[in-house]
């Protein structure tokens, strides 16, 4: 004797948020039943394991049938198959596109290709996120990437409208897309201390200031690709380190401003040339795709690590970078103020984000 068929269909689609989460987390039906039992569902209602199993199966089926719609959320609102209240729809989409920070940290900046997908079982083993869930998250990244690739207009807005996501989640996806597109290296050991949110914030800075979209907001890939012209112009900043006088002048200006204001003044003075060379070198090399990829690692190696070894506080960093940026304006022979500001604005923000005391 066996249940051959068992379905329950409501006119308004019945979805239990708990079960949905279990499904999203990649639990098998049996594991989900166990998890629900442990959570004490049975106690709140007089039911037995069979009832729970039947319910879980029904819900899983519903979710599977919904999945196709969730993959293009705009359809969910005007499809006819499932009658789901609008606020429920929002919840379904938001949760479907939610991801584990630990997982995304692993794939951030990697090419969203089949090859990466094959490595997902390793990632799954490493992060403890189920393979099923890894796949969903990865496919979500890929799907969003593919869709926005071909769209004009601001990246975050495109994601938000196309996938009906909340502003926060849309920003995160913009970061993921941006990282994947520019293939920023994030996996190196030295970068391990950085969380996804750190990178996402940096990405936001880069998108807002360094991409084509920062100047012109109606071109394709405007927010995904860095502004090539700007990268070219960055080469001009070389003068700040190449011209010995200018370097000295810059240093003295900064030191004058900083003197007495921080405990780390000595280190700042000692390291000025090194740090300045580091930052300007990063700028001048950004025309190379390879160096773009190493942008974050360069920042860490050339700036953050030296500062950290000298025990600068975050306030020190802020003070130093502010004066470092501003002093350049007073340098007479230095003509590239606009580029300098555009560059340093982002660098400053990124370093603030990335500098953990």
């Amino acid at each position: 004797m066996a249940v051959e068929l068992d379905v329950f269909v409501g006119n308004t689609t019945i979805m239990d948020e708990e079960v949905y989460q279990l499904w999203l987390d990649g639990y098998t039906v049996n594991d989900a039943v166990k998890a629900r039992m442990d959570a004490g569902v049975l106690e709140e209602c007089e039911a037995d394991a069979d009832v729970l199993l039947s319910d879980t199966m029904d819900q899983y089926r519903t979710f599977q049938m919904c999945e196709r719609l969730l993959q293009s959320p705009a359809k969910l609102a005007n499809q006819l198959l499932f009658q789901i209240t609008p606020h429920r729809q929002v919840m379904l989409i938001e949760r479907y596109y939610a991801f584990d920070d630990t997982f995304v940290r692993e794939v951030l900046g990697k090419k969203l290709s089949k090859g990466t997908k094959k490595d997902l079982d390793d990632i799954s083993a490493k992060t403890g996120v189920t393979l099923k869930s890894c796949r969903r998250q990865f496919d979500n990244f890929k799907r969003v990437f593919k869709v926005v690739e071909e769209l004009k207009g601001p990246l975050v807005e495109n994601i938000r409208q196309h996938f009906l996501l909340s502003d926060k989640l849309a920003r995160d996806y913009a970061a993921i897309v941006f990282f994947a597109n520019n293939r920023f290296e994030t996996g190196k050991k030295k970068l391990q201390y950085l969380t996804f949110q750190d990178f996402a914030l940096c990405a936001g800075q880069l998108i807002n200031n360094w991409t084509v979209g920062a100047v012109d907001n109606m071109v394709e890939d405007m927010d995904v690709d860095l502004d090539k012209e700007f990268l070219q112009e960055l080469k001009e900043l070389k003068i700040l380190i190449a011209d010995k006088d200018l370097l000295d002048q810059h240093k003295s200006l900064v030191c004058t401003a900083l003197r007495g204001k921080t405990k780390a003044f000595a280190e700042m003075e000692a390291n000025f040339k090194n740090l300045s060379r580091g930052l300007v070198n990063i700028a001048t090399k950004l025309t190379n795709t390879k160096d773009v990829r190493d942008f974050f690692i360069d920042l860490v190696e050339k700036f953050i690590e030296p500062c950290r070894s000298d025990r600068w506080t975050a306030a020190d960093i802020k003070l130093y970078l502010t004066h470092y940026t501003n002093s350049a304006h007073i340098l007479d022979p230095f003509k590239h103020q606009a580029v300098w500001d555009r560059y340093m604005g982002v660098i400053k923000s990124c370093i603030f984000i990335m500098y953990h005391d």
């Binding site: 004797m1 066996a2 249940v3 051959e4 068929l5 068992d6 379905v7 329950f8 269909v9 409501g10 006119n11 308004t12 689609t13 019945i14 709140e44 209602c45 007089e46 039911a47 037995d48 069979d50 009832v51 729970l52 039947s54 319910d55 199966m57 029904d58 089926r61 519903t62 599977q64 049938m65 705009a74 359809k75 609102a77 005007n78 499809q79 006819l80 198959l81 499932f82 009658q83 209240t85 609008p86």
Partner: protein, 1126 residues
């Protein structure tokens, strides 16, 4: 050329990718009606094509408009090969043919394919321009309103109830052997869908014609069913109740606006054939009001030797009374003689019985006789219980015997009679006016012949007395229907059964059957036809004259009884009872006799006095049978049927007593036949009617005395039973008013309970109680009599003499009561719950169990079946736990044996939330419900029709305040709709903007009930009657049978919702899934499923929108806003 159908294909969306190379589709649309086809241009390379086609115009007969659906096929254009079909949409345009329903169909429809399911959506606009048809000989019945609702639809009042309607059409089934042909493309299934759509259109038209001929303008309680008879064909049949409905309006202006031809009190009908009917009336009236008919004599003649009496001579007797019946017309209506020669040709005679042996009904006739003596022996114990309802039911229990008798006698003749009559009808309606008159009085005769009503709830005062459940079953062997235009045998079969039902009703002293329904169960070539209803006496004031044979109404019934208990009073003669029953004086009014238990198929009357809450009661039964073929099989089945009926009945009775209740409403007994077993499922809602005596307990008796362990065992069981009864009393709040007679302590106890439990406890109003007191003091006889019946002395005795009995008792006790916060019933409303909140969740659930063990006993099968049903209920409670406190209403179980070793149970029900703190409000609530807007229309109904009756004059103010509201609403709506053809462009853009533009899909509520709580149906848009087939050849890939069926049911819901939304509606009421036939072949990775659903599309507004004008303005504003947005 009385109609012009116009269709416009606007756009598509979410189309499937048909061209793998480009990942796009080159879609175009074919629009077909009848034999005319139009095509749109190809919209290349798009999954969201914008055709924005011209208006395709079809100039057609209104007959075709009723029969044919509009067929829309979406195709992918292919330059080199044949165009691929993407899917289809069938649109039933019937709602557009009725002026009061929808005026335009506009919206997104799912594109449906039998293999792939829903594949995108298409936006379509459909309109009909109907020219006024003055042709009296027309074959169409446009304008007749159809309602699935089995009560007078809200917002309407019944000016007249005309009577019973039935019709059936048959055809060859394009695919009766699906399994062999499943590999053929979807063509055959599509043909089947198309055919059924056509057949149901035709059926509806024919029923409509009958309504017009009877002088009505609407069909209420329309029930259409399909019989998939396999090789012998496809039968679509329908029954319903013809009514003349009037929209509730107060101003004559408004009423003239909505339906100009309504002339209340007379044969109000807005059909053009009105003048054609007048003579019919004239011709008919005198005859029916003429001398007493033989009908009148019938109850006495058939009740003295009760039809259920086991011996053969008695069934002979009843058969002879049937003969009387068929002779009736002769004495009554001389002029009708010419139309009914068939009757006289076939009197009940031995010759005929021999004749009937050669009929396909032989199985039933022959074996019925054979089983006669045997079947009665197990029935005998029931007499010793001396339990009235049991015996009343045993009228139907022995129906096979009766059927056998009538099959031999007049039953066969009735069938013969119906054939020629029908033929005549068909010819006549096609030809001339005189004949039309004749045929219509023939119809009238038919209506009188079967005074059946498919309604389950009635306006106050309509239902006078209820006798009890009557039912009839018959086993038939299917044969090929040779001539589909003359489905004589099927007609005759039903005729036979209806006669049976009628005679049962007569035996109960009743002249009508209410809550009537028919169904079938087919397995291979054996078919069980079943009909059941509730014998009743109706207030003939509300009937069209001649519709009911009222002669039999005894004078004593004219005595007005209080509405809260009147229907419980026995309709039959106390001295000449059709069965031994225990009668007592009504506990409510103390004036008339009531039975101790009452079983009915109707809903609990709104005015009934009920104690406590109700609950779902089910009896479940499995019986194994040997596999057999043909007649042998039929014999085996009909031998088993009486036993099953008896056992189901016993179970129901025990469970009722276990819950300390005394009446069942909405009783529905289904017996399904499979190759090697029969399944029986009886569902009903148990209640405690205040008017009826309290049920005695259940007493366990051991057969062998002296055996200590056994005695101990019995004692424990007895204790368990007593505990359960006590627990149930508490659970369902059954604290009947004690008859404070002999025991003052009891009285005090009750009083204390009263104060403790507050008003929530179902104790009648003080006034009521004092009356009870008085009657007690007046007559001490009564007291003792009542007391006798009240105690445990007449407890129901269950004898434990073998293991079977032990099993039975165990199964009795295993039924779990619903968890806290849940209630369940299978009726429209839950007795004892009055303050619903607005949340509703309709659902359908299907479960199929495979019995792997081939050698199961009846007992273990029963256990399995019972567990299956119980587990389903448990599942529902669990799934809907977030809605607590809530009630599962209209739980409709459907069992089937799709294959050997498979048991299928499908359930459709609705969960509705209610306010927990109802205890305080309850007494007031009840009165509000009675006098308030809910039954407003019904009140008006009685005001209009029996102005002399003083009982209904109590709330004139509520009527005045309530009615104009409705008026405003209805006139507003209709004016809104009416104006749309004029300002066509504007309204179209309004419509399309609403459905376009990615705006969220309209939420459409669905419910099997006739209402949505907290809302008012302001407009009925037409009937929804849809049939779908889905097939798959990749069962595993679709998630197995469960995945397959899950998506199919979801798709069916989606299509129903889309059609309702396109009609401008926002809800479906009286929704039901009548068929869900699943066939699977996992080895071949294939499955197929047929689903038939129906309901009434409505527009509802929230009750809280007290000012309907305001809400309408809002609606208008939002429409304008939408208009502006485009």
């Amino acid at each position: 050329m009385p109609g012009k159908l116009k269709a416009k294909i606007v756009a598509g969306r979410h189309l499937p990718v048909m061209d793998r190379a480009s990942d796009l589709t080159d879609a175009f649309v074919e629009v077909k009606f009848g034999n005319t086809t139009f095509k749109t241009d190809v919209f290349p390379k798009s999954l969201n094509p914008q055709w924005n086609s011209e208006w395709f115009k079809f100039e057609v007969d209104d007959e075709d408009l009723q029969d044919e659906p509009l067929q829309i096929t979406v195709l992918d254009h292919d330059t080199y090969s044949a165009n691929d079909a993407i899917g289809k949409v069938y649109i039933d345009i019937d709602p557009l043919l009725c002026t009061e329903a929808a005026s335009v169909i506009s919206g997104w429809f799912p594109i449906y394919d039998t293999i792939h399911g829903i594949r995108g959506e298409i936006n379509v606009l459909v309109k009909v321009e109907l020219f006024n048809d003055l042709n009296r000989f027309r074959q169409s019945s446009c304008g007749v309103k159809f309602f699935c609702t089995t009560s007078i639809p809200r917002g309407y009042r019944a000016a007249m109830v005309h009577g019973f309607l039935e019709e059936l059409v048959v055809n060859e089934d394009p695919e009766y052997q699906w399994i062999d042909r499943i590999r053929t493309p979807r063509a055959s299934n599509e043909a089947r869908q198309r055919l059924i759509s056509l057949m149901s259109g035709e059926l509806q038209r024919k029923i409509g014609l009958k309504v017009l001929e009877m002088g009505g303008n609407a069909v209420v309680g329309y029930l259409q069913c399909f019989d998939l008879e396999g090789e012998s064909g496809l039968v679509v049949r329908a029954i319903g109740t013809a009514c003349t409905l009037e929209k509730l309006t107060s101003g004559s202006l408004a009423s003239a606006h909505t339906h100009p031809n309504t002339a209340p009190a007379s044969n109000a009908c807005n059909s053009p054939s009105k003048d054609g009917k007048e003579p019919v009336f004239g011709e008919d009236l005198p005859s029916s009001s003429g001398p007493p008919t033989p009908f009148r004599a019938l109850p006495t003649s058939s009740s003295s030797p009760p039809p259920f009496s086991p011996c053969k001579p008695c069934s002979r007797q009843s058969s002879s009374s049937d003969t009387d019946l068929s002779l009736t017309p002769k004495t009554e209506e001389p002029q009708s003689g010419r139309r009914r020669p068939g009757i006289f040709l076939c009197p009940s005679s031995p010759v005929l019985s021999a004749d009937s042996l050669s009929l396909p009904g032989l199985g039933s006739a022959g074996c019925g006789h054979g089983s006669g003596p045997r079947a009665t022996s197990p029935a005998l114990p029931s007499f010793t219980y001396s339990d009235s309802a049991l015996l009343r039911k045993s009228v139907s229990f022995t129906e096979d015997l009766l059927l056998a008798a009538s099959g031999m006698g007049s039953g066969g003749s009735a069938g013969k009679e119906a054939g020629p009559l029908k033929t005549l009808l068909r010819q006549q309606t096609q030809t001339a006016l005189e004949q039309r008159g004749a045929s219509s009085s023939g119809l009238l005769l038919n209506a009188r012949e079967f005074p059946f009503f498919t309604l389950t709830s009635f306006p106050p005062g309509f239902l006078v007395h209820v006798g009890g459940v009557v039912s009839a079953r018959s086993v038939k062997l299917l044969d090929r229907i040779h001539n589909p235009d003359e489905p004589e045998t099927r007609d005759a079969w039903w005729e036979e059964i209806r006669q049976e039902i009628k005679s049962h009703a007569k035996a109960l002293g009743c002249h009508a059957v209410v809550g009537y329904s028919e169904n079938t169960s087919i397995c291979e070539e054996v078919c069980i036809l079943s009909a059941s209803g509730t014998a009743a006496i109706l207030n003939h004031r509300y009937m069209r004259e001649g519709c009911l044979d009222i002669g039999s109404t005894d004078q004593r019934f004219e005595d007005p009884s209080p509405p809260s208990c009147g229907f419980c009073h026995i309709p039959y003669d106390e001295l000449n009872m059709p069965f031994p029953a225990q009668l007592t004086y009504c506990y409510n009014c103390r004036r008339q006799k009531v039975p101790d238990v009452l079983f009915t198929t109707i809903d609990l009357p709104a005015e009934a006095a009920v104690t406590g809450k109700g609950c779902l009661i089910q009896a479940r039964l499995c019986r194994l049978k040997k596999k057999a073929q043909g007649e042998v099989n039929a014999t085996v089945i009909s031998n088993l049927l009486p036993f099953m009926e008896y056992e189901l009945h016993t179970q129901l009775m025990n469970k009722l007593k276990l819950r300390s209740m005394n009446a069942l409403f909405g009783l529905h007994i289904q017996i399904s036949v499979g190759e090697n077993m029969l399944l029986g499922l009886a569902s009903a809602t148990g209640v405690y009617l205040t008017a009826l005596p309290a049920p005695g307990g259940i007493q366990i008796a051991g057969k062998t005395t002296g055996d200590m362990s056994n005695e101990q065992h019995i004692l424990t069981i007895q204790k368990r039973i007593n505990d359960t009864i006590a627990r149930n009393k508490e659970l369902y709040q059954i604290n009947p008013p004690k008859l404070f007679a002999l025991d003052p302590e009891v009285f005090c106890g009750t009083n204390m309970e009263l104060t403790e439990e507050g008003v929530g406890s179902p104790i009648p109003e003080p006034r009521h109680r004092s009356r009870l007191f008085r009657s007690h003091s007046e007559s001490s006889d009564e007291v003792s009599e009542l007391d006798l019946s009240h105690g445990k002395k007449d407890a129901f005795v269950l004898e434990i003499d073998d293991t079977d009995a032990v099993e039975d008792i165990h199964s009795l006790l295993t039924d779990a009561s619903p968890p806290a916060g849940f209630h369940s019933c299978n009726t429209e409303t839950m007795p004892g719950i009055y303050n619903w909140t607005t949340a509703v969740q309709m659902f359908t659930s299907v479960r199929v169990l495979r019995l792997s063990n081939a050698n199961l006993s009846n007992q273990s099968l029963n256990k399995i079946f019972t567990d299956l049903c119980e587990n389903l209920l448990k599942s529902f409670y669990f799934k809907l736990r977030s809605m607590v406190p809530c009630c599962l209403c209209h739980l409709n179980f459907n069992v089937a044996v799709p294959e050997e070793e498979l048991i299928q149970v499908s359930v459709t029900a609705v969960a509705m939330t209610f306010d927990k703190d109802q205890t305080q409000e309850r007494p007031a609530e009840r009165f509000i419900t009675k006098g308030g807007s809910e039954t407003d229309e019904q009140l008006q109904f009685s005001l209009e029709l029996c102005a002399d009756s003083s009982s209904t004059n109590s709330q004139p103010s509520s009527r005045i305040s309530g009615v104009p509201e409705n008026t405003i609403v209805s006139s507003r709506v209709s004016s809104l709709e009416h104006c749309s053809p004029l300002t066509e462009g504007r309204s179209r853009s309004v419509r399309s903007s609403r459905s376009f533009g990615g705006s969220p899909v309209t939420m459409v509520k669905m419910t099997p009930l006739s209402f949505l709580p907290g809302t008012r149906n302001i407009k009925y848009l037409g009937i929804i009657n849809m049939f779908f087939i889905r097939e798959t050849t990749s069962l595993r890939e679709e998630g197995g049978v469960s995945g397959f069926l899950h998506s199919f049911i979801a798709e069916v819901f989606a299509m129903v919702r889309a059609h309702v939304a396109a009609l401008g509606g926002n809800a479906v009421v009286s929704y039901s899934m009548k068929d869900c036939v699943l066939m699977e072949n996992p080895n071949k990775n294939q499955a197929q499923c047929l689903i038939n659903v129906s309901g009434d599309a409505v527009i509802y507004v929230r009750e809280t929108d007290q000012e309907p004008t305001a809400s309408m303005t809002n609606m208008g504003q939002s429409l304008c806003a939408a208009d502006g947005a485009t």
